[in-house]
Assembly symmetry: C2
Homo-oligomer: 400 residues x 2
Amino acid sequence: MAPGARNGSAAAGVGATLQAIRAAESTTRAELVASTGLARSTVAQRIEQLLAHDLIVPVGENASTGGRPPQAFAFNAQAGVILAADLGATHCRIAVTDLGARVLADESHDVAIAAGPEAVLGWLEDAFGTLLMTAGRSPADVSGVGVGVPGPVEFATGTPVAPPIMPGWDGYPVADRLSRCFDAPTLVDNDVNIMALGEHWTACREWDHMLFVKVGTGIGCGIITDGRIHRGALGAAGDIGHIHVPQHDDVLCRCGNQGCLEAVAGGAALAATLSAEGTGAANARDVVSLVREGNPRAVQLVRQAGRELGEVLAASVNFFNPGIIVIGGDMAHANEPLLAGVRQLVYQRAVPLGTRSLRITRSTLDDRAGVVGAAVMLIEHVFSPEVVDARLAGDGTPVV
Amino acid sequence: MAPGARNGSAAAGVGATLQAIRAAESTTRAELVASTGLARSTVAQRIEQLLAHDLIVPVGENASTGGRPPQAFAFNAQAGVILAADLGATHCRIAVTDLGARVLADESHDVAIAAGPEAVLGWLEDAFGTLLMTAGRSPADVSGVGVGVPGPVEFATGTPVAPPIMPGWDGYPVADRLSRCFDAPTLVDNDVNIMALGEHWTACREWDHMLFVKVGTGIGCGIITDGRIHRGALGAAGDIGHIHVPQHDDVLCRCGNQGCLEAVAGGAALAATLSAEGTGAANARDVVSLVREGNPRAVQLVRQAGRELGEVLAASVNFFNPGIIVIGGDMAHANEPLLAGVRQLVYQRAVPLGTRSLRITRSTLDDRAGVVGAAVMLIEHVFSPEVVDARLAGDGTPVV
């Protein structure tokens, strides 16, 4: 390790220069001198180092001529790829993205998480390999692997912790296994956390405090505070599906408690109600189809589910004061009936200051929020100043 | 401003060295070289600069002799004082602390916040002046002023925003006024936020995610995440007093909604119930006195209030996954009946992972949480690396 690498001065290292270049669309040496306050010679030295590692590329009309105006540089988003997976209870989306989290190839599959980690991860490794070929890239290009799973995760080790709907996964070293398979940094997080991150990075960067609510079979929430995922003490944050809602103590939830939000307003609960009433609906997607066909009972149930969710979110608004709430997941495809119910109760029940500038909207990334977020999670890690400094410290070139 | 001051390299500046010294009880040059990775000559230079500014002092048996073992240094907590105030609805505590947030002198007064900012702040300026004399210090010693108020605050400007129980304070430049009066940096925040900060700094540093719940006349919550106060989009975070609790829609809250937690379980609500039943109780303190005297109806009401609060906190546990919940405020003096009710509902209703290692406890700082927190808020600001670097950049000595 280079002498400077552990001095806590990451803000002044080469990684910080890369960070500044990534933050700008493109930037010149002079702009970097102005924005970082570093000496001109230091900036020049770092540019050379980053070019040598293919981490940045010359851009603009002067890329070939080298004449005036001065040469600009940009982050080289093509220098590698990220493998991203969003594993749900019954289906899964996988993607290959570039280093700007742009999806190069993706596909979705029916995969039962309950089949256990050996079966699911074995399949995932094969599927990633095939998708890499589809994207025209090789295993050597893989800069990182990001995975979301439908349960709580100990983020530091990438290990599921007591996940209720993932039999066999408790304590399984998911990140370790994938990291070895692809010889690349691997991070694992709760699926709703990565959806929140993807949505925030893509469409909501101007909001520091955001909630992403996934309404599917169940209900969960990803929390962004100061631009970062809030995971809580044990990675259990955002589990709003098991918050108690009034007047439903007759409804038993799969968690063993009565009157949980998810047991009242989740897609599985609505499908069960419709089925019991003689209208065929096996799951959340069927409920959405009925709403789209204009089935009045389905519309009524979804709007009521929106109100139940809105009551819980009103409490979350009072507690957390987010700037924006984004609704995603299968049930979000029901659109206005769901959002109208949510908005009604949030505006009725939350404190006025909490809703003064609050926005409640649908996910823009929709089904891709998870894979984009998984890619963002890896990119932000792999190109963080600390990791870049540490990586480049070992290459023989001076760490400046 | 020195050339290096805006280069974002605060982590490598003299302020960072002071931070490292503050974090340790005491430390030597060699320890600083090891912990920061800086060159020996740089550490020596910074030590000289910090000594010249009285920001650190030599400590230990070698303070006078200079012989072996090597000289240790510590942050000079006596180099100045902080004026701290915790303004409540009807009473106020003020304190003079050293730069380690140790209370040198404090007192509490009956002050009606509803008298408006001119009257209250005029009084506060006089009271601070008198207390400074009591502590044997002069206005020139004041390094900062920290104030908590019972309402939402726009933290960046130190201005109350639409505070429900502070008539005349909306938009009043509290920080500006006090800053001019004492010619010192001044920060203003919500009272519960500073209580949370004081408690966290003093007794709960090992928990990254903490809730501090103030149960007094009303009910509010301070949120600590990753060791810092979470204020939310508009400074409204933690307003749990107006979360809807089931089965109390007949109770009108002062906010105009029905069934708010505070209208059901706050000290004022309990006092009103007891009074209506013929037991004299004017406020939260009277209710606590009755509980301490063993009045069964008061004990019953407080325990039920604990359960109502516990239902709301169970939802907050699912949402936020704190490691510890600290209960403070006047009603916390009721002790076990209140905490038993809280614990009962939190353990009954929160998800198992959320309560696996959750601690629910009473405030250790008690009535002083606010003033200690207000002092901590100022100290953390005034001695942050950025502010120290900027301040020392103007003194003619080189910024290293």
